[in-house]
Symmetry: C2
Subunit: 139 residues, 2 copies
């Protein structure tokens, strides 16, 4: 289900509920998954009708690639993690979005995936703001 | 652990063990995960020293994006699946590789991820060849 999100852009209700805004990139809105178990960012291309990466135009694909890499590099720098996990699944939330997650040995479900594992643990609000600020500074 | 793979290119031993070759693209070798639970392809950029997407040069990133989308579209066409799941994790196999998986309602672990779920079930050899041929025809 899509919700009007200002500027005429819409955001799926579940994405809106589970994530918090960080910044606006060229193609994508960058959001934080509100789950303190992992440093977890989500790119939402401003193309609410798209479901698959290959549905994007070649120009949008190039921009998304650029922004994914920008965000992956910033997240690795900010967290010092072992490995970035990048994924576009969309089995539950169909609006196209890309996960960029910082993973380290011994984190919950390591070396398995973050998706579908246990229950989301919201950040303390202050820590969420601090993490968002750290990401903006690393971009 | 990397294994020499002809033409001086190396392939991680676990990737080599769990997957079978399909075809050679411009940047990537395209392989099938030998697991009949899901139609599952793997792109292996011929950059064996790279671990993260953002380590690639901009030109390689553009080529990888092109090949990921080509393969995603072909897999969706060949399988009629509900959703393509794309992921670059690398928590276990560090050599850079990208998963492109065809997912449909009711498949094993739907709508959760394929990674780390249960035990790989090898294809009957004849079906594996047929699937590889179907993918080559759809590219």
């Amino acid at each position: 289900m899509l919700k009007n999100h200002g500027k005429g852009v819409v955001l799926d209700r579940r994405l809106d509920n589970d994530t918090e805004p960080v910044t606006w990139l060229g193609l994508c809105e960058l959001r934080i998954m509100n789950d303190r178990r992992w440093p977890w960012l989500i790119l939402v291309p401003q193309r609410p009708d798209m479901q698959e990466l290959h549905d994007l135009t070649p120009l949008d694909q190039a921009m998304l690639t650029f922004e994914m890499n920008l965000v992956g590099e910033a997240l690795k720098k900010a967290t010092g993690c072992t490995k970035i996990n990048t994924g576009a699944l969309g089995n539950i939330v169909r609006q196209l979005h890309v996960h960029v997650v910082a993973r380290s040995e011994g984190d919950p479900n390591w070396p398995g995936p973050v998706w579908g594992h246990g229950t989301r643990e919201p950040w303390p609000r202050e820590d969420l703001y601090r993490f968002a600020e750290q990401i903006r500074a690393s971009l």
